[in-house]
């Protein structure tokens, strides 16, 4: 395939996958919750977007793009308050509950919408020609939004008071709690952001790349997101960004070069994960991880 195509598409999908990964790593870093249901919000984001923008409600796609993540963010917060907060110290129970929630939402979506693939139109139609390859405006929009959100988050964690509190929490939970910071509210806020990012990533990728919607659409991207998180470093936003770009490229290269590459991407990603756990378990930007 064309090098330009691989270079550009790799970056675009990479950054958007990074957005998905970033939400997951943010939640883990701040609250130590391993939200295995993260992918569900990716899927729900896309379905809510579809229902709002193209389905029964008939909002303008741009409006749907803004409203859908907010709605899904709220769903995430409700799930957290009802199901996760009561058992916040039980890491085992949290993992089980999040997987259960993921499957419950998946099945309910399946029941409501059926298993068939629903085609999703892109937000903006038309494309641009760069070099010898074409890039849809939709993908460019996805790239722009993802990068904006990333840098917004980046500045937020560095400049703002809340952001600094989040960084403090991810470094040392006990001391931060002792400093009188309202940890409860921060947790809710983090979950909201994380879910919002997942939903946004879902909308962007499905409307620009995948173009189809089905209740199990979240499995493959979540696997990729997990790989990104381990590669970049659990809890590191920078790590998600760069890890995402790396794996975005890897995905594109594997699909372009190898016959049947689409089926090999998760194997390649897994081999990379195993390698990094052997060489540098903390990931590229992660804190030190002990070898036991």
């Amino acid at each position: 395939m064309l090098i330009e195509s691989v270079l550009i598409q790799g970056l675009i999908s990479g950054v958007t996958y990074a957005l998905l990964a970033c939400g997951f790593t943010l939640v883990y870093g701040v609250t130590r919750i391993l939200n295995l249901a993260h992918g569900t919000f990716y899927m729900l984001g896309a379905y809510v977007f579809y229902v709002l923008g193209f389905g029964y409600v008939g909002l303008h796609p741009a409006a749907a793009l803004i409203v859908a993540p907010l709605i899904v963010g709220l769903i995430g917060v409700v799930c957290y308050i009802l199901c996760l907060r009561p058992i916040i110290d039980d890491y085992f129970g949290i993992m089980v509950v999040t997987v259960a929630l993921a499957l419950i939402f998946q099945q309910l979506t399946l029941i409501a919408f059926g298993p068939q693939l629903i085609p999703v139109a892109s937000i903006i139609s038309g494309s641009l020609v760069i070099g010898r390859t074409g890039v849809t405006y939709s993908r460019i929009l996805s790239l722009l939004i993802s990068i904006t959100v990333f840098f917004g988050l980046w500045f937020f964690t560095i400049k703002s008071k809340t952001g600094t509190a989040l960084r403090a929490l991810s470094q040392d939970r006990e001391i931060t709690m002792l400093m009188g910071i309202n940890v409860k509210k921060l947790y809710v806020f983090t979950i909201f952001l994380s879910t919002l990012f997942a939903a946004l990533a879902g909308i962007l990728i499905i409307s620009s790349v995948t173009r189809q919607l089905t209740p199990t659409i979240w499995l493959a991207p979540l696997s990729l997101a997990f790989s990104i998180v381990v590669l970049g470093g659990l809890g590191s936003i920078k790590g998600s960004f760069f890890g995402g770009i790396i794996l975005g490229y890897v995905e594109n290269i594997v699909v372009s070069i190898m016959p049947g590459g689409g089926y090999l991407v998760d194997l390649v990603a897994m081999i990379m994960v195993m390698a990094i756990l052997l060489i540098r378990p903390a990931g590229i930007f992660g804190k030190y991880v002990e070898r036991v």
Partner: protein
């Protein structure tokens, strides 16, 4: 192999009389005897089949409990080695003409190798990496199956021969019933013995506090690896029994939903017990396969929802597990004051 020899030996050596006297064990014996007599009482092929498959699921569930409930490594992709057993048997027959009986040890060997390959990078580091990536492994297996769809027939599933080609259908179902029950009995006893041995206690120490366990001189990676291998081998065994009985190896056996069922069964029955996982699986599977399919038909998509929601409530409200609760009640009636005293005395 060393583990299995020791436990079988101790069963034979131990005094059967004192082992049976306690009421909860008496109850277990009654249940086991009853299940062996079911075909003589009521020859309902559908019911038999449900219990057969439920028994296989029970092996699957118990293997999850050993790794998760005892050693603290919840595995959300446990279907990996189950599917390996199923597809292994089917592929070995379709490619090499091997009988499903011979496929069993071959599959187990492959399961051991895969466990070591996966365990080595993931169990050696501190952090939730194993549980995190566990969901991904069955998906990789699914991708590989789809990649080689010429050989594996992709999502149509691969036909698998039966264990008993020389029997009629009805005879076959009865034979499969006893076979599953027997395998469950042996597997359950082995896993229960491992769980209650010193090794099992070391697993629990790892669950409770990895740092403290290390400070007792325990090489926790070695023990986690052992737990992973045993857990995966029994799951693989279950899969190797499953495919020839349903005559099909399908991608369902690698699905995330299927990976989560042993979690549901174990939580329902009670984690860290082995018997909880077994009873939970038998009860819920019979409910699922027989009552929700035949007696009161419910669309398949609803099954997972019906089972998952109570589990979420279980975990939030109380984590004991129903079967475990009942067994503890019985133990208390029999006059045992300290639960813990019973479990290690012998």
């Amino acid at each position: 192999m060393e583990i299995k020899f020791n436990t079988l030996g101790s069963i034979l050596k131990g005094s059967m009389k004192t082992w049976l006297v306690t009421p909860h064990r008496l109850l277990a014996l009654v249940i086991i005897t009853f299940s062996f007599l079911v075909p003589s009482i009521k020859l309902d092929i559908t019911l038999l089949r449900s219990i057969t498959l439920a028994s296989i699921s029970a092996i699957f569930a118990a293997s999850w409990d050993l790794l998760a409930g005892y050693c603290g490594q919840p595995n959300f992709g446990h279907a990996l080695t189950f599917g390996l057993g199923a597809y292994g048997t089917a592929l070995l027959y379709n490619l090499l003409g091997l009988s499903p009986w011979i496929a069993i040890p071959v599959n187990l060997l492959i399961a051991c190798v895969i466990s070591v390959i996966i365990g080595f990078p993931f169990l050696r580091v501190r952090g939730p990496y194993f549980s995190l990536m566990s969901m991904v492994f069955p998906q990789i297996a699914t991708s590989i199956i789809l990649l080689f769809k010429d050989v594996t027939r992709g999502d149509r599933g691969l036909p698998c021969p039966t264990f008993f080609p020389f029997l009629t259908i009805t005879e076959r179902r009865i034979a499969e019933y006893y076979m599953a029950l027997l395998f469950l009995l042996v597997s359950g006893i082995i896993m229960y013995k491992i769980a209650n041995s010193l090794r099992g206690r070391i697993f629990i120490s790892i669950l409770d506090d990895e740092l403290a366990s290390q400070s007792c001189g325990i090489n926790i990676t070695k023990y986690k690896m052992q737990a992973l291998i045993v857990s995966n081998c029994f799951a693989c065994l279950a899969g190797s029994l499953y495919a020839p009985i349903v005559n099909l190896a399908s991608l369902w056996t690698f699905s995330l939903t299927f990976s989560f069922y042993p979690v549901i069964w174990t939580v329902f029955g009670g984690v860290q017990t082995i018997y909880g996982a077994i009873m939970g699986a038998v009860i819920l599977e019979t409910l699922d396969r027989y009552i929700l399919n035949v007696v009161v038909p419910v669309p398949q998509e609803w099954h997972m929802v019906i089972f998952s929601i109570p589990i979420v409530i279980f975990i939030i409200k109380w984590r004991f597990g129903l079967v475990r609760l009942i067994v503890e009640k019985i133990k208390n009636i029999s006059g045992k004051t300290s639960v813990v005293k019973e479990s290690h005395g012998g």
